[in-house]
Amino acid sequence: MRAVKSKSYRRGRIADIQKVSGENWLEILSEVGRIAALTLELETRLNLIVELIARQTGSDACSILLMDEDRENLVLKATKGLNPMSINKVILKAGEGITGLTAKEMKVIASRNALNDPRSVYFPETWEERFKSVLSVPIMDKNDCIGVIYTQTISEKDYTENDIRLLTTIANNISWMIKNAQLYEEARQKIAELSILYEISMAMQTTINLDRLLRIILSCVTVGSALGFNRASLFLVNEKTNTLQGMMGLGPDSGEDAREIWNKLTEITNLFQWLTSQGEALGKKESSFDKFIKSTRIPITQDSGILALTVIEKKPFNIKDARNDPRVNKELLDKLGINSFATVPIITKNQVLGTIVVDNIYTNRPIRDEDLQSLVRFATHAGWAIENARLFSQLREANKDILIAEQQLIQSERLSALGQLAAELAHEIKNPLVTIGGFARRLSEKTDFSPEGKKYTDIIISEVERVEKLLKDILNYSRDVKPTFSDYNINTLIDEVLSSYERIFSDSGVIVKKELSVNIYPLHIDTSQIKQVFLNILYNAVECMTGKGGVITIKTEPLSGEEGVTISISDTGGGIPPEILDNIFNPFFTTKRQGTGLGLSLSKKIIESHGGTIGIDNRTGEGATFIINLPRRQNKIKS
């Protein structure tokens, strides 16, 4: 009964196929070519192609499996006729089943009755048990199999030479398209990631300030074309309280805002520039999202939601239906107003620092697992940066304590400035030193010296080694004095300096007067460097008044013409002799027996690197006033 039915069915099909084998061949192939050339995602194009083939060849199903990156497994990428939900879910090993065997042996397999074929393996989720016959053709790229295309029919069918030729030709035709798409995707990801990392790292060179760093990190997550989530927030682990503490949330408050910001974003071509200018668009405006995140504390326990789980289990989560997910903390979810989001842990050296949470609240774009992978990679780098920033601020805290307690540190602060100069010198010396020592070593190995000759070269080698070691120490020491910028009120800084060094003034009988304007902006400065400048100038003032007594007046006022501050420091020490006035900013120029002559030259360098100027109002016989103009923001950030 059944056989008869399938026979008559087959007869009808044969007529179709004969039609296909004629002029339709060309039509099918040109249509495949047209689809392949469309600028659509690969999967979309593959799905259009299988639909076309199924329709035009009278097959009940047509599907494409592609090899994954490791060339081990085949993944279902497109289908017409099988359960579409199984796309990307069906994964089989090369060699497994008829299609797997096609890939492994790189040859065409036709099976009239696959149900009884010992080679076949069924995947129930595809609903393919209704199909009897299968024709499976490898998709080849040179000598590699990159995928399999196969058609299936519900009734039994004998495949003809023609069927096989048509499908093979199609397979050959789509191979280049698959290969190109994969290469393109690989390249796109690599370049996007590289350039985003590069730009973040450039931006980070200019800051070790934690707050600013976090903003940079979140900006990259939301602004970068590589990651590009709508909103991102960052939580750090507070070990003392065992909670996750919201640090910052970045993203527009409403769809309106979002549109406005994204319009502006298209104008940003250089992420680095945007990051260092702190981003007018997202950076400045205080959003209620940010406020909400900052007020959020989550206990790190198994039952307090996905964010805590991310930290506990040290793995990312991609939550697609949050409302129905028992692990999700519903209270937080309501406040965020979303139903899908993803989290990644920030891990360094196996320790979890916190988590980054992202969502696409405005575009509703689903978060793909690939997106999450990029975010995971990104979080590794972010973790490293956060760790560094934290270490640095701890170091600075510690330094501050010592500074207040120990007057002696004046000397070491001055030394650190010296160290900076030494570092520059050391760089220059290192290369010739390497060649001197290197060639001395070669000499000593290659030449048959007299005992004396040997002795002399060995001395050169060991002396060079000694200097190299010395250089290494200097360089290691001065590495800690890289500039780090933060927003700081200059009046506060002046108060700090004056109170720390109070004793110096009282010991030398000098009175200090402050005239600090309350109307000034915070400045974007490296506080330890600017402090250094004040110290140098104050020190000079004290030195020229020692024994005689006198008054130092330190004054701040808004900079005229632009945003910024003018700081003037006056003394009553008789002023600078006119004949040396031109020299005092030169390095190593000094009139003091124990001076190094570096104080003012370094100060000038520091002020200029902040985009400011330093000048003198000299009243011979009375005293000198050093005038420093610091703009609020330097146009160019130098490090």
Partner: protein
């Protein structure tokens, strides 16, 4: 086994001479370049198996060059050489195989290069 070819990129001539001679003694073929552009040409023309890169060079510096190279070749081992360790923390250098502080004692450089080639050899056998 064929001889490995190493490209030494450094702006100081004497360093190039020193590195070439030391590495030749190790049994490698050595070519040199004095700047980024030169390096680019030499790489295309003679396809080295490993590159040593000086970080501080006038014009395009080693880090920039590293980034450029990685954009079109993910795999060629690159050893960053610097007079100082400042850039070790700079994660732009992480795309390199190793980071070495220049020293008149070439042992570290030589053993690092040897290690890299050894690892690559083992990796190949495993494929």
């Amino acid at each position: 086994m064929t001889r490995k070819k190493i490209l030494v990129v450094d702006d100081e001539e004497n360093i190039r001479i020193l590195y070439s001679e030391e590495l030749q003694d190790e049994g490698y073929d050595v070519i040199t370049a004095s700047n980024a552009e030169d390096a680019d040409i030499k790489i295309k023309e003679s396809n080295p198996d490993l590159i040593t890169l000086d970080i501080k060079m006038p014009g395009m510096d080693g880090i920039e060059l590293l980034r450029k190279l990685r954009e079109y070749d993910k795999n060629i081992p690159i050893v960053m050489c610097s007079a100082y360790s400042d850039y070790k923390q700079d994660f732009r250098t992480w795309a390199s195989e190793a980071y070495i502080i220049k020293s008149s004692d070439m042992l570290e450089l030589k053993s690092t290069i040897r290690e890299i080639f050894k690892k690559r050899e083992v990796g190949k056998l495993g494929d």
